[in-house]
């Protein structure tokens, strides 16, 4: 506790109308500050109806100027509401804004307590704590950092493509990194898109092509980010380029190698496991870039050492079996993560029989089946590859809204299911049953689409399907898939025989989202989705400055929202680039190197990689631009060598002293 009598502290107690004064005796608090805390340096204490009003703020400004106050405490509402207001008032009067403290006697006192006497005593303690703390406050200056004009976009799905194009079209350079062999993401697998039923390829391929050929976009497919160093404005990113076993500069994309390759394997990727590809392949004919890759696990040459058919057939001698992975380090100022989603594994819901009952399909399998370029050339058929179903059942919420699997609504499945119902009707004229719990069609033209599907004669059953089974109970059920469900609108169980079942499976965070989060220094929610800086007001920012986020990486979204987020993230990045420099909050940790023993205990504590160990001088150092100000290292340093501005040991210990002053005075 400092008893530095040279301080001149002003204390201002707000009535907040009657919000504070109806429970707290503000005059008593004021008098305590003036008399009880005079020895601590309080030279003036006032109370006022509304401190945050213009006259209230002017009162403070006037006192700072006339009385030469060097510290200000405002006892009012939560600092989350008006800290900035009063700091600015101090600033206008020429006082460093960080020498002003707010004592929350509304949210923490008058609104939550009823006993007037106890509330007043507590308010006094809170004010004392703030006074003791403010004595230890130090003037702080904001930090400014220059921004590198290049941007890294991670993920080449529709959100990433959109973001990359927006930035590139504004004339700034973008590194677009995609871990698959082609950009396009999940959208490239779809047949039609709801609710307008445009063909996904028709609207996506031009964008893919544009991104692949844009002079400002450096496209890096079959590549992964392996390291991120630096901080906002100055990231240094290491990218691993996996070997395609093919010299891109020689490949013309003629596809002869693919044609000649003798090995056919089930395509678990693009074709969702219901189609085949070769051991040298591109995801599709529209792949961007057009270069194939060799799947070494299935390639005869890599497995058995013979074959080389691709090499022999290549007219430009582009095949290179010796190719190794390469690492590339690039400097960027901002990063956009558009890493997308994984699909729920329907095999987990064993009562729906996926994986056991051949004619149970997932939504993504069905997308490929519907697609004219897909394995069945767009024919809707059973697993035997030829029989057209007569009756199809579509099940919503598979793996979603279910505590046994994912406890959230997957957003797109209702519309996806309706789209399937329409497609089945349109192409086969089948009887279609649609099993739903709640029909969620809130976006533009979505409910109209529901109306259309109703009109087309799809039979809707409200109930979560209990099981899909091939165990017949009577002769009429033989050879059918029985969908057993309570039709909740009549309150009876029904067993509906169908030929084909489509499971509308939900979205999941990428299986490696946690590692990705760690790599970029951003967090995941309990469900595993990346956490936004603010779910409503800043949905495309993360807690790490300079790292933005778009699309389904933060949670299930439809295409329009993903695209909008891609654009929004691009706008934020351009905003940063245009500003040229960024201002950072001065709440930071720093190492006093004379005191640092180099024990390295702090080194593994920082999730933002702000702490580095200087091998030559055997001390640790904190990069202020990377530091987010959490203070964990400050609390951990065994030598007391790390201090944190804004929340220093002295400030907090003094505040504790102040908060307990009534107790210690009584003990004395």
């Amino acid at each position: 506790m400092s008893n530095d009598k040279t301080n001149k502290i002003g204390v201002y107690v707000c009535h907040c109308g009657t919000n504070i004064s109806h429970t707290v005796d503000v005059a008593k608090v004021r008098d305590w500050a003036a008399e009880g805390l005079g020895s601590e340096g309080v030279v003036i204490a006032r109370d006022y109806k509304f401190m945050c009003s213009s006259p209230g703020q002017e009162l403070i400004e006037q006192d700072i100027k006339e009385l030469g106050l060097d510290r200000v405490v405002v006892a009012a509402c939560s600092p989350h509401l008006h800290e900035l207001t009063f700091r600015n008032a101090s600033k206008r009067a020429g006082l460093n804004p960080y020498l002003t403290e707010l004592a929350s006697i509304r949210e923490q006192v008058s609104w939550v307590h009823t006993d007037k006497e106890a509330a007043t005593e507590k308010a006094k303690a809170v004010v004392t704590g703030a006074v003791e703390r403010v004595i230890e406050n130090e003037p702080l200056e904001e930090l400014k950092v220059a921004i590198h004009p290049d941007t890294l976009v991670v993920g080449g799905g529709i959100a990433g493509i959109q973001a990359a194009l927006e930035i590139a079209n504004a004339g700034k350079k973008v590194w677009l990194v995609e871990r698959e062999a082609s950009i396009g993401g999940h959208m490239a697998q779809f047949d039609k898109t709801f609710p307008t039923l445009d063909c996904a390829a028709c609207i996506l391929t031009p964008r893919m092509f544009e991104a692949g050929n844009h002079p400002n976009i450096e496209l890096m497919t079959w590549s992964e980010v392996t390291n991120v160093a630096g901080y906002v404005g100055n990231f240094s990113v290491t990218i691993k380029k996996k070997p395609r076993y093919l010299k891109e500069e020689l490949c013309t994309g003629c596809r002869i190698c693919i044609e000649k390759c003798p090995t056919k394997v089930v395509d678990q990727g693009y074709e969702a496991g219901i189609g085949y590809r070769k051991a040298i392949y591109t995801s599709s004919a529209q792949a961007v870039p057009k270069y194939p890759v060799i799947d070494t696990e299935n390639c005869n040459f890599f497995q058995k050492g013979t074959c080389k058919v691709c090499e022999k057939s290549c007219p430009t001698e582009a095949i290179d079996y010796e190719q190794k992975e390469e690492f590339l380090t690039v400097d960027v100022g901002n990063i956009i993560l558009a890493t997308g989603y994984d699909l729920f594994d329907a095999r987990k819901v064993s009562n729906y029989g996926y994986g056991r009952l051949p004619n149970v399909f997932t939504s993504i399998e069905f997308e490929r089946m519907c697609n004219a370029a897909g394995p069945t050339s767009g024919d809707i058929v059973l697993r035997d590859g030829k029989t057209t179903p007569k009756t199809v059942g579509i099940i919503h919420c598979v793996g979603s809204r279910d505590r046994n699997y994912n406890n959230y609504c997957s957003n797109i499945c209702c519309m996806q299911s309706l789209k399937f119902a329409h497609l089945v009707k349109e192409r086969t004229g089948d009887t279609v049953y649609d099993f739903y719990i709640d029909m969620r069609t809130p976006m533009k033209a979505y409910d109209e689409f529901y109306q259309r599907v109703l009109e087309e004669g799809t039979l809707f059953v409200r109930g979560k399907v209990a099981q899909v089974t091939d165990a017949a109970r009577k002769a009429s059920e033989e050879g059918k898939l029985m969908v057993q469900v309570e039709d909740t609108l009549i309150g009876k169980q029904r067993r509906i025989p169908v030929d084909m079942v489509i499971l509308s499976i939900g979205m999941e965070p990428r299986h490696d989202a946690k590692e990705t989060g760690k790599l970029f220094g951003i967090g995941c929610s309990a469900n595993g989705w990346f956490t936004e800086k603010h779910a409503k007001l800043d949905p495309i920012s993360t807690m790490t400055e300079g790292i933005f986020i778009a699309g389904t990486a933060t949670g299930p979204k439809d295409i329009p929202t993903s695209v909008a987020q891609g654009s929004a993230a691009a706008a934020r990045v351009l905003n940063m680039i245009m500003r040229g420099e960024v201002t950072l909050e001065p709440i930071k940790a720093s190492v006093y190197q004379g005191q640092c023993s180099g024990c390295r205990i702090c080194n593994s504590l920082c999730p933002f990689n702000a702490i580095t160990f200087l091998e030559d001088r055997k001390v640790s150092e904190i990069n202020p631009a990377l530091c987010q100000g959490c203070g964990t290292c400050v609390a951990a340093c065994p030598a007391g060598a790390i201090s944190g501005t804004g929340f220093s040991n002295d400030q907090i210990l003094a505040q504790i002293d102040g908060l307990l002053m009534d107790v210690t005075l009584a003990d004395a």
Partner: protein
């Protein structure tokens, strides 16, 4: 005169939303019932193997609980038809302890003597009576007494089977009594004094 379910709901809603019945059942259920979490999806009613003999699906019953339809719920045969197969429990997306709620409803119905067919409650009570008397179940005693009271005809029908069971040593004529009967009685008597209504 008893009201129709719809009238009953209206009667309730005219006053205020009364969730006391829901809470009462929840409190009487072993473990944490999570009954208030039901989203009326019907995965219970869809799963139930004996639903065809129930007057209401479990889901409907839960809605009725919410609506405070005490009479109708307690008189429902649903809990008595429940075969404790736990299919609904593992499929419930909200992890409601459905089977245990059924047990609670049975015990409430027995306490308030609200059931349409006394056969099932009698069976349970007789079973428990035997257990309380001997510490072990006593199938022979249970079966004879139950059939005599409720379906003497069926007893004749199943006599041959029963005889077969006896002959094959699968039915003990005499009950087995545990040694610690006194201890068990003390425990059960103490237990009966308590109710799990308030926490």
């Amino acid at each position: 005169m008893s009201k129709t379910p719809v009238e009953h709901v209206h009667a309730r809603l005219d006053h205020d939303e009364d969730l006391s019945l829901l809470h009462e059942v929840s409190m009487k259920t072993a473990g944490v019932s999570r009954l208030e979490m039901c989203i009326q999806c019907g995965s219970c009613g869809g799963s139930c193997p004996s639903e065809m003999d129930m007057d209401h699906t479990p889901r409907t019953l839960f809605a009725m609980l919410r609506a405070g339809m005490r009479e109708e719920v307690l008189l429902s045969n649903t809990p008595w038809i429940c075969v404790s197969c736990y299919h609904c429990v593992v499929r419930c997306p909200q992890n409601v302890h459905i089977t245990d709620v059924m047990y609670s409803l049975k015990s409430m119905a027995i306490q308030e003597k609200k059931y349409r067919d006394s056969s099932a409650p009698d069976f349970s009570e007789t079973f428990v009576e035997m257990v309380e008397k001997y510490g072990r179940s006593y199938e022979f005693g249970l079966a004879t007494r139950h059939y005599l009271k409720h379906s003497p005809l069926r007893m004749i029908r199943t006599a041959a089977m029963g005889l077969g069971m006896l002959k094959k040593g699968r039915l003990n004529m005499k009950p087995t009594t545990i040694k610690g009967m006194e201890q068990l009685t003390a425990i059960l008597n103490k237990a009966k004094e308590m109710e799990l209504a308030h926490e």
